[in-house]
Amino acid sequence: MTGPADTIERLPTGISGFDDIAAGGLPAGRPTLLTGTTGSGKTLFAVEFLARGILRFGEPGVFVTSEETAGAIRRNAISQGFDVGRWESDGMWTFVDASADIGEGIETVGTYDFGALIARIEHAIRGNGAKRVSFDSFSSIFSRFDNVGIIRHELVRIVAALKSLGTTLLLTSERIHEYDGLSRYSVEEFVLDNVIVLRNVLLEERRRRTIEIVKFRGLPHRTGEWLFTIDPREGFVVIPLGLPGTLDHASYARVLTGNAGLDRMVGGGLFKDAIVLLTGPAGVGKTLTALHFADAGRPEERCLFCTFDETHGQLVRNAASWGLDLDAMQAANRLLVSAAYPQTATPEEHFLRLRHAISDFRPTRVVIDTLSSLERVVTARSLLDFVIALTTVLREREITALITATPMGQAVAGGSLAGTVELASIADVTIMLRYVERTGDIQRAIAVLQTRGSSHDHAIRQVTIDDTGMHIGEPLPRVAHVLSGSAALTEHPPWPAEPDTASGDPTGGP
C-alpha cells in the first residue's frame, strides 16, 4: 500500500516490546489516543512515553496532567526509577498542571473555550523544544465541564495545535467498559486517527493485562491483544509473542543432549537453536534427563536451569544422587539455578524474570522443569503465551532449550489435549518418556516424535535408569498406545504368564 504508510514516519517510544507491535513506534508528529478503564496503566504508559524519550533518544517532553497533580506524578515516577525533578531542572521535562484544585468549584456562565490551556501547552513546548507530549487525561479534564459540544470542538483544536508544532501527542482517556463502547465522551475515537486500548480483565480468576492497537491510520501494525506487565526493573513491558524477524536464520551446529543414546535418536545431537519439548509423567526421568542436558555443555557452555517443581536445595540433592555436583557447576559459573514457585508470580512476571536471567547470565542452554507446574496456576492460553514469548527470546539468542512437561490433560483434571498439540507445534524436537505396563512390572520407554530439519529414530526404545544415569536400550517392538498415555504391550499374555517369551504375533489369540 502506498500513501500514508510511505509518508508518515514512526517515533519509537522506547517502551519495551511496544515498538515491535507498533511496527516501529507511534506515527510521528500525530496524535494517538490511549484508552483504558481505571487502573489499566494509562498514566504509567504516558509517563514512560516521555521518560524513554529522554533516556533513549534525548528528546524533551511536555506532560499535561489533569488526573493527578504534578507532585504526585513526580513521586510515582521515582518508584519507576525516573527522576522527573532532575529532568525538569535540566529542561527535558515540563509539566502543564491542569489538575483540579481541591475544594474549588468551577462555575460557568456563558460560552468558553480552552484557549488558555492550549496557550500553556504551546508555551511549554516552545520552552523546551518538546518532541513528545503526554496528555493525561482528556476525560478527567473535561469531566469538570458539561458541554459535550465544546469538549469535542476543543479536542479538535488541541489536536490541531499540537500537530502544527510537529509534536507526537499521546492523549489518554478513560473507557467505561473493557470491550463495549467507546471512550467517556464517545468523541475521542472519531477525532483521533490512532487508537490504542489497554485492558485489564479477569479471565478464569487471573488478571490479564493487554494492549491492542485498534487503528493506526492505515499504517501497518500488529493486530490483536498483546500481554503486558509492569516490571520493577523494565517498567511497562509488552510481552513479545513470536514476532517476525526472529526466525530468519537457523543453526546447523549440533550440540549434545547429555545422553549418547538420545543423541543418536535425534539424528546426532540437537541443533544449537532447538527448542526441545520432553513430556512424561511424574518420576519417569524428565529431571534426570534435564540435569544431564545441563551438564552436557561442559566445559565452556552455561546453563540456566529453571525449576518450578523443587527448591534449589532439593534439586542439588537429587542431582548429587545421580553423581552431578550442581554446587561445583555453579561455583564454576557454568550453571545458574532459578527456583520459583509457580504461584508467586503471573506467567508474564515469570517470563520477565527468566528474560532478565538470560540477559544477565548469558546461558547457551536453558532448562524449564516443568512447564506443567505453571499450568496448575494459569490458564492454558496464558501458558501458551508464556512459551511463545520465551521461545522468542531463546531463538533470538540461539539458545538450546529443554522444556519438560507432564502430558497435558494429566496435570489438570479435564485439561485439554489441544495444549499439547500447540506446544508441540512450537517445539522443534518432541520427545516422550512413558511408562509401559507389562504383566508383572513397569518399564520405561522413550520415543522421538519429531526433529525439525533432521532425521530421527522412529523406534520406541526401552529406557533403564540406574545410579549411573539413564540408558536407552533396544526397541520395544510390541508397545502400543504410548501416544495416548496408556502404553502397554499389545499381546495377550500367554498362559501361564511369561511376557518375555511371548510369540511375535501382536494380535494375540482369538
Binding site: 468558553y112 473555550d113 488558555a116
Partner: protein
C-alpha cells in the same frame, strides 16, 4: 476606594474575549461604581501568567479581592448569574436578583 479586584484571563482578541471584558465592566459599573479594578490578561501573550494561575478555560474571571477568591468561567453573558457567583448582587446594585 477600590475594594474589589478582578483578573480576567482571555485568549486572544476574539469576540468572546471582548464580550467577557465588556460584560465584566458592565457588572462592576452597575454594582460597584468606582470601587473596582480589572486587570485583563491575554493567555496567548502571557502563557506564563496563565500557567501560574493554572487557568484552563477562557474567559476566566478571578475575584482576587475581597477574599475568598472566586472563579467564573465563561463570557458572563448571563449577568444575573455572573453577579451572584462573583458576589456582586448583595451590594444593592441594579441587577440584584435577591431583592424581592
Amino acid at each position: 476606594m477600590t475594594d474589589y479586584s478582578f483578573r480576567l484571563y482571555v485568549a486572544g482578541r476574539t469576540a468572546r474575549s471582548q464580550a467577557a471584558v465588556s460584560n465584566l465592566r458592565f457588572l462592576c459599573e452597575s454594582n460597584l461604581p468606582s470601587r473596582y479594578e480589572i486587570e485583563v490578561i491575554d493567555a496567548i501573550e502571557r502563557p506564563d501568567l496563565a500557567e501560574d494561575a493554572r487557568i484552563l478555560a477562557t474567559p476566566t474571571v478571578v475575584r482576587i479581592a475581597p477574599a475568598p477568591q472566586l472563579r467564573v468561567i465563561g463570557d458572563l453573558s448571563d449577568h444575573g448569574r455572573a453577579a451572584d457567583i462573583l458576589g456582586l448582587s448583595d451590594n444593592g446594585g441594579l441587577l440584584s436578583r435577591r431583592s424581592p
